[in-house]
């Protein structure tokens, strides 16, 4: 809307629907919320540079007497014979295998639901969508007992197998396939004699790329951040992911009281844990939005 004030008259910028006048007041309030979002991360960054002595003795948002970031990083990777590197590799393995398999299964299944007709399709969709609202714990206890009987607990399979199933991913893939892959193209490929799997792999999958990246990202974050499942499934620290390992370190100092206080290492390890995720977020952020748009608007 055009302002009639003298200032607007002097500056001939046109404030249209696409380019409205900026509001300092609104920016201020949103800025306050942004501060709330950033404060813990700034705190983490600052405190990862402090030695244990400085962490205990200096103001939380000020730097310590010495810059100990590198010492802390070395400490994180050497403490307990360098088990942190093992946890990092475990997490990467859980994420890469889990995200790739779950995304592939979701794409294949979602495509089949959208483009093929078969018995029991509607019922299957309803059950899968219903399963999204089943609390994790209701599954985790029987999963643990079943896996224990099969000898799978305390192995990487106990964490990997449940992560292969991503009901929300299947839903996204189904919604996306029905719009993005033209039926005529599939029909044409069939007339040319292409096998069904080849049609999926060479024609449909490339067209599903945006949804695939979105589902990969969601799987990546949820597996990287997984806490409850590995907590109950794994007893051997050699198979821990980062999340369980860090909590284990944090308990060292705080529970017994006479344990070695390694909060500087816990904080630096936390920083190392979130850096890859933050980078993934910043680089691929447009996919987040398109994925959420699919999930939310399409209902």
């Amino acid at each position: 809307m055009l302002s009639t004030s003298s200032r607007a008259a002097r500056r001939p910028t046109l404030h249209t629907v696409e380019n409205p006048r900026k509001s300092p007041l609104m920016t201020f309030f949103v800025g306050l919320f942004a501060l709330y979002c950033l404060l813990p991360m700034v705190w983490l960054l600052i405190n990862a540079t402090k030695s244990q002595t400085d962490f205990v003795s200096t103001f939380g948002l000020a730097f310590g007497g010495e810059l100990a970031l590198w010492d802390n990083i070395v400490g994180v990777f050497t403490f307990q014979d360098g088990i942190f590197a093992r946890w990092l590799l475990n997490t990467v393995m859980y994420v890469v295998v889990g995200a790739l398999v779950s995304t592939f299964l979701a794409a294949l299944g979602g495509y089949a639901l959208a483009k093929h007709n078969f018995f029991g399709k509607k019922a299957f969709l309803l059950v899968v969508l219903g399963s999204i609202s089943v609390p994790g714990i209701a599954l985790a206890i029987p999963q643990f007992l079943l896996f224990a009987q099969m000898g799978l607990t305390n192995t990487p399979w106990a964490v990997l197998i449940p992560s292969f199933i991503n009901p929300f991913g299947l839903y996204l893939m189904w919604v996306y396939s029905s719009d993005a892959v033209p039926n005529a193209l599939i029909e044409a490929a069939r007339i040319d004699g292409a096998k069904e799997f080849r049609i999926f792999w060479q024609i449909a999958l490339p067209m599903l790329a945006p949804a695939t990246v979105t589902v990969l990202l969601f799987s990546f974050v949820s597996i990287w951040n997984n806490y409850f499942l590995p907590l109950i499934m794994l007893k051997d620290p050699a198979w821990y992911p980062l999340t369980i390992g860090i909590n284990q370190w944090n308990k060292l100092g705080s529970t017994a009281g006479n344990g070695e206080l390694i909060q500087n290492l816990v904080i630096t390890a936390s920083l190392i844990t979130i850096v890859p995720l933050i980078i993934a977020f910043l680089c691929l952020q447009r996919y987040w939005q398109s994925g959420l748009a699919l999930g939310a608007v399409k209902d």
Binding site: G109, P135, I137, A138, L145, N183, I186, Y227, I246
Partner: protein
């Protein structure tokens, strides 16, 4: 959510292809979802007795659950938490989405990213950060108390849940904001131009165009938020070893209680009954929200 497919191709030759493609997902789904739930229902009918091991007790576990004050303590705590935290979080998310969508912020892109960033942080890291920051031993509140001579403790038994609320709101507001924002972006821009020509004020545009467009995503976010907060586990579980005297008991939330029963008390049958009752409760609430959401949409 309504089923919305463009009509699938009619194929008479090989109707099994679809089933074949769905089979890997379907079989694993049966293995990690269906069988565990059925198994859970089965073991909820048994109790681990000191003499005789596992013995069939019928619905005893369920009867016991409905008389268990510790279960009610946790269940009421998460219901109250949900009733307070979810509206606050979703209101913030809607306001932020409206602000970002209005294009009237200095640095719209920056804010959109920053607000979503906490979603990337694992619960363990966010609980550690907030636990240290709000703690009175090393944290900022400790510094503040020293400076002002106060003795405010965010992790005293009466304030712990509020502190957990701060952490959960921190982690998930941005996620919900993006869902609302996506819905707002889907509004045809011509509507705004038409409204501007008609001389509508910004508040009228918000009330008559933008808020109605958020109905569908509001239903989705309410359901997902309720499912999430009913399962509250990570934050109290991690905090219980991070701060002392926080008032976090082994039955602080239903999930924490089920975890304690199953893995330290070896009462798997009772824990399974508890988890199933909470699951049923969650599904009923989600269903009611969805029905109400649909009804609102029809009334429009």
């Amino acid at each position: 959510m309504t089923l919305q497919t463009t009509s699938p191709l009619r194929r008479k030759r090989r109707p099994t292809t679809g089933l074949l493609f769905l089979a890997p997902f379907g079989l694993l789904f049966i293995f990690v979802f269906i069988i565990p739930i059925l198994y859970s229902a089965y073991i909820s009918l048994f109790q681990n007795k000191l003499i005789g091991g596992q013995s069939f007790v019928g619905l005893d576990n369920y009867v016991r659950l409905f008389k268990d004050p510790q279960f009610y303590d946790g269940a009421i705590r998460v219901v109250v938490f949900t009733a307070i935290q979810v509206p606050i979080m979703l209101l913030c998310a809607i306001l932020l989405a409206l602000a970002v969508d209005s294009l009237r912020l200095h640095g719209t892109r920056f804010f959109r990213i920053v607000v979503f960033l906490p979603y990337a942080v694992p619960a363990i890291v966010s609980t550690l950060m907030w636990g240290f920051m709000l703690g009175i031993r090393y944290g900022l509140i400790g510094n503040l108390n020293d400076a002002l001579g106060t003795r405010f403790d965010p992790f005293a038994p009466e304030t712990t849940m509020a502190s957990i609320g701060i952490m959960v709101t921190w982690g998930f507001t941005g996620y919900n904001m993006l869902i609302f924002y996506a819905a707002l972006r889907a509004i045809p821009r011509e509507l705004y131009e038409a409204a501007a020509i008609d001389g509508a004020t910004e508040m009228q545009v918000v009330r008559n165009i933008k808020l109605p467009a958020l109905r569908g995503s509001l239903t989705v976010t309410v359901i997902f938020s309720i499912i999430g907060t009913f399962q509250l586990f990570n934050e109290p579980n991690i905090l219980s070893s991070l701060v002392s005297n926080s008032g976090i008991t082994s039955y602080y939330t239903p999930n924490l209680y089920a975890y304690t029963l199953a893995f330290t008390g070896s009462q798997q049958g009772y824990a399974a009954a508890l988890a199933l009752v909470m699951a049923a409760f969650t599904i009923v609430i989600a269903y009611i929200v969805q029905i109400r959401g649909m009804k609102n949409a029809f009334d429009k």
